[in-house]
């Protein structure tokens, strides 16, 4: 670990420690009733209960499974659609504008349609996840392919690459720095989509646990679950996408 990285880590840890201390102090002063503003200790206790009776892990597992299935579909569909848009003008001129429009629909706006089409099922939640993240992947793939140095494609064609070979050996790897941005955005949208859908479907998962907390007026459970959602978001971004991005960037010599 370099000195710089260690320094940064120290700052981050110090910030979170201070945040928790301030939170504890405010809770201690009892400005707001303890029911509305629990202390960090109570939230931690709630997390511990959730861990002991495994309901927390079950919630995380359920949400993550839905997320992974939905996100995988979004990646495959988004990359394919992005390639079609980048390579076939008529697709870009027609479907392209629709994609931009669909991208601006908030993920929870897909929930009523999902419920009507799929009922209160996993499939419905996965549908919402796919719809919230697929267009970010599509748009970034499209941008990435449009920005490929035309000489890469000419050289590859000259060396005999065509059709599917050209797509897998040149177009996707050449556009990958952009596609990763699509993954990062898509992942963030997918995560929001899953939690949003679970809140409204009220059918297992972390979003469901949030809803249960609300129904029981258990503020510390609500905050505990929110912290878990936040933590998973940071972890996946840091451990999966940042690493992937760093690897690709250093390979290209961009970092």
């Amino acid at each position: 670990m370099t000195k710089l990285v260690r320094n940064l880590l120290t700052k981050k840890i110090a910030f979170y420690v201070i945040l928790v201390i301030v939170w504890q102090i405010i809770a201690y002063t009892n400005i707001w009733s303890n029911n509305l503003f629990p202390s960090p200790l109570e939230v931690a206790e709630d997390l511990a209960y959730g861990a002991i009776d495994a309901s927390l892990f079950y919630g995380i597992g359920t949400s993550m499974l839905r997320l992974l299935v939905g996100f995988a579909i979004a990646i495959l569909g988004g990359i394919s659609l992005g390639i079609f848009m980048a390579r076939i003008d008529i697709v870009n001129q027609t479907v392209g504008s629709l994609v931009l429009g669909l991208q601006s629909i908030p993920s929870v706006a897909w929930v009523p349609l999902a419920i009507l089409w799929f009922g209160l099922t996993d499939a419905g939640i996965i549908f919402v996840t796919v719809m919230s993240s697929i267009f970010a992947v599509t748009i970034n793939t499209h941008t990435g392919i449009r920005n490929i140095d035309p000489n890469y494609i000419a050289a590859a064609r000259n060396m005999g690459a065509k059709g599917e070979q050209l797509i897998t050996n040149v177009l996707i790897p050449a556009a990958f720095p952009h596609i990763i941005s699509g993954f990062k955005q898509g992942w963030a949208f997918a995560w929001r989509g899953v939690i949003g859908a679970e809140l409204l479907f009220s059918f297992l998962g972390l979003g469901f646990l949030l809803n249960v907390g609300r129904q029981l007026s258990d503020v510390s459970q609500v905050i505990a679950i929110m912290l878990v959602i936040l933590g998973i978001g940071i972890l996946i971004d840091g451990f999966v996408f940042k690493r992937l991005e760093n690897k690709v960037m250093s390979r290209w010599g961009l970092r």
Binding site: D149, N151, Y152, A154, A155, A156, R157, N158, M159, G160, A161, Q165, N169, V170, P173, A174, F176, V248, R251, W252, G253, L254
Partner: protein
């Protein structure tokens, strides 16, 4: 035997609202084993002609014949080496060199065997596992040449491959390229704007006129090899080429 023949190649460039006639009917015959250098004023369409010969661009009129058969697209027998190399930054040096073989479905062991040989020839063995950004411009150009040779093409089309190199690196590569050409007996068509470079490399030099360009003059350079840039005896050939070229460069201004 004529390997590559251009018959009355005409090509226009489209500039927003008007068409510029770049190639005004190029006729050229390249014999098997020839090293032909194309020189001409900048913007005369030499690079475009090379792309047409590679099949990456189509002429508005005329045709390219390869072994007497019309060219309709790209083919592994005609490989273009790009000015900036166009190496793939997502692949290691060895994978870049093996790219064409992989596309052709050559198995992995066979591929690495062939690429090793050419990497060795280009003195790049130590860099087989490097990524392209780790290489100097000279090394990148050597990788690009190795990548083309691996395809074992009949004709190598080289588009100012040494234009962005420093003088020392270029002089080394000029010698290396002559040695490889003599060893492999490839047919090479080499575009350059540098007359000294053309005279060192080519056994034939085709001089393009200003737009709409035709081939104004073909010269044969009969001289020992490998030729060196600093060889005083090459001056008279340079002078011959310059005498043809100067009026065209003036017109192009």
């Amino acid at each position: 035997m004529v390997k590559l023949e251009a018959k009355n190649i005409v090509k226009h460039f489209q500039h927003d609202d008007y068409r510029l006639k770049a190639l005004g009917g190029i006729n050229l015959q390249v014999e098997a084993g020839d090293f032909v250098c194309l020189v001409g004023p900048s913007g005369c369409g030499k690079s475009t002609f090379l792309r047409i010969a590679a099949g990456l661009d189509t002429p508005d009129e005329g045709e390219i014949l390869f072994d007497r058969k019309p060219v309709t697209g790209t083919g592994p027998e005609r490989i273009l080496v790009f000015q900036e190399g166009a190496l793939f930054p997502w692949l290691k040096v060895s994978d870049n060199v093996e790219f064409g073989l992989k596309m052709a479905g050559v198995p992995k062991e066979k591929r690495s065997e062939i690429s090793k040989r050419y990497l060795d020839m280009m003195q790049l063995t130590k860099f087989a596992n490097s990524y392209t950004y780790q290489l100097s411009t000279g090394m990148k150009q050597r990788v690009a040449i190795a990548r083309a040779f691996v395809m074992d093409p009949d004709v190598l089309l080289m588009d100012e491959p040494f234009a962005s190199l420093d003088a020392q690196t270029r002089d080394l590569l000029l010698v290396e390229l002559q040695l490889i050409w003599e060893k492999t007996k490839k047919t090479i068509v080499f575009v350059t704007h540098n007359v000294a470079e053309a005279v060192v490399l080519g056994n034939k030099i085709a001089i393009f006129s200003n737009r709409p360009s035709i081939i104004k003059k073909e010269l044969t350079i009969d001289y020992q090899r490998p030729r060196l840039m600093e060889d005083e005896s090459l001056r008279k050939f340079q002078q011959q080429v310059l005498n043809e070229l100067r009026p065209e460069v003036k017109k192009s201004r």
